[in-house]
Amino acid sequence: MLKYSLKRIIKLIPVLVAITLMVFTLMYLTPGDPALQKLTSQGGAVTPELLAAERHEMGLDRPFFVRYFDWVSNIVQGDFGNSYSDDQPVASKLLRALAYTGALAAASTLLSVVIALPIGVYTAIRKDSIFDNIVRIFTFTGNAMPNFLIALLLMFLFCIKIKAFPVIATASLKGMFLPTLALSIPMISRFARQTRADVMCQLSEEYVIGMHARGVKERIILFRNVLHNSAGSIITIVSLQIRVLIGGSVVTEMIFRWPGVGNLMINSITTRDYPVVQGAVLILSILQVLINLLTDLSYYVIDKRISMD
């Protein structure tokens, strides 16, 4: 498994080269002049001389590949450059935003799995019961409602009607509650439906009868076998969801003013803050690829038939 992981990580290198090149090219081609942006944001009149001097200082007048290699070699040393808008190091800005997004992603995923898994299993074994029907209504609704609508409804309920939470989320546990809930509701619906479907599919497998015929306890059949065999597809949907969350749940973060990656990206794009956008896209791409690798490794842990080659 270690060998496989190493192989996968080595294979990452060309992917990373492609990603860096793409990120850099995209930002290079984007209209708008960062030097002009920087000067105007500082106030004062912008003369052509001043602009040319600023462009030279920022290195914008150098050839494309020189700038690209410069950027990449700095990144390899952990230097993502400084933000155009406030001259702060991009790395620290990114880390802070990632920490916020990571916390939100982890909390909402954890909450969703903890709630959805038992619901999914229970509705599968008590198929068509009253509980199953009630859950079905909720999961369909949860699935159908867009995230921003859920966020606004939660805000209306908790911040305006009950006044239990402030409208602008503070960067604290309390502030995290509403965005977490807003992200979790559709995820719970999705995970619960998926778990129900997979568990039901496994329950109809013959080995389940074989185990019953040996008098294996129901609990063991369900949690050690049925759930084990369904884990692959449950992990697939969870990891897809995590990948979306890590990219920053832009809308939810904007609505709750959560200072995560989504928020940072939107702000940086509107201010043409190239170093931040480039750094963010790069880090997010690497994270996506790593999550992909972890997902693949977990498939192998569950089912040894999956080839490691």
Binding site: L203, E206, Y207, V208, I209, G210, M211, H212, A213, R214, G215, V216, K217, E218, I220, R224, N225, H228, N229, I302, D303, K304, R305
Partner: protein
């Protein structure tokens, strides 16, 4: 019939409203191997499902009783039934992948089965059991997962686990019918050996009369939901009474490259519902009275039962 291990009394079983078997009765003594033969759909698997009594299998006992070792197990509760499954009743299914979770090691699955019955799982004991059954690579077997094994080996692993759980009655539902001849022979010989050594009673469902004649003490022939003949294997094979049994025996393919005498037609799907004999449409000897005469399995000669003896003198 106090010393019977298994008694099936007047059993009628349905799937929902659909009657599959009616009024089936027979008994098995300890250490006896009983084969039930018949065409597909005659209800022989349903018989096994009824004895297992797992509700997911869908077989519902409407009338009659199943007595295991003096205890009525017809309508046991879920937990009571779980306790006897494995420890008193063993099961080998037709599907060679039907006993174990395909992607978990035998080791954990053996453990789970033993612990479910409050028994200690001892790896050395398992390996000894494999050795006793002449399994190859006995010391490594537990670490394999079922998908890495052949179908025959999977069946044998299921039998080995049954040895460790120690039931008195084994139910084999076409356990060898999908195996190649070598694996088939190994499994059959293993079962016969275990009967001799452990005193297992084996209820063996098969459509292969060759297998039956090799292993069985008694043979039951089922037709469209009814037991039409039952008795000592030699008597049934050498001197069949029921017209269906005769046709069934005549239909066994021979080695002489001649096509056997075919069994014309198909058994009726609702045969269990018929008031009179349900073999009438395919029978060469039937009379008008056969259509209305109620089904009854009678002892024609001592120890040899049949529901019809019309063709006997012919």
């Amino acid at each position: 019939m106090a010393n019977n291990l298994l008694e099936i009394n007047n059993l009628t079983v349905t799937y929902g409203d659909f009657k599959i078997i009616t009024e089936v009765s027979f008994a098995m003594k300890p250490g006896e191997i009983v084969c039930i033969a018949g065409e597909s759909g005659c209800g022989k698997s349903t018989l096994i499902k009824s004895v297992l009594g797992i509700k997911q299998l869908g077989a519902q006992i409407q009338v009659g009783s199943i007595i295991l070792d003096g205890r009525d197990i017809t309508h046991l509760g879920v937990e009571e039934r779980r306790q006897i499954l494995g420890t008193q009743i063993g099961y080998v299914p037709q599907n060679t992948r039907g006993s174990f979770n395909n992607i978990r090691s035998y080791d954990v699955q053996y453990q789970e089965a033993m612990r479910s019955h409050g028994k200690k799982f001892n790896r050395d004991e398992a390996v000894k059991c494999f050795d006793r059954l002449n399994f190859p690579d006995s010391d490594k077997l537990l670490w394999y997962q079922p998908w890495e094994m052949s179908g025959g080996m999977n069946q044998r692993m299921a039998i080995a686990l049954a040895v460790l759980l120690g039931p008195k009655l084994m139910l084999c539902d076409e356990a060898t019918s999908v195996l190649d001849v070598t694996s088939q022979k190994e499994v059959i010989e293993e079962l016969a050996k275990l009967r001799n050594e452990l005193g297992w009673s084996i209820l063996f469902i098969t459509h292969n009369l060759g297998v039956a004649s090799h292993i069985a003490d008694k043979l039951g022939v089922m037709y469209a939901g009814r037991m039409v003949e039952y008795g000592d294997i030699r008597k049934v094979l050498d001197d069949p009474i029921h017209p269906y049994t005769k046709k069934l025996l005549a239909a066994i393919p021979g080695k002489d490259r001649k096509l056997p005498v075919g069994l014309e037609g198909r058994p009726p799907l609702d045969g269990a519902e018929w008031p009179g004999c349900n073999f009438v449409p395919r029978c060469d000897y039937c009379t008008e009275s056969c259509k209305t005469k109620p089904y009854k399995l009678e002892e024609i000669v001592p120890g040899h039962f049949a529901s019809c003896s019309v063709g006997r003198s012919v």
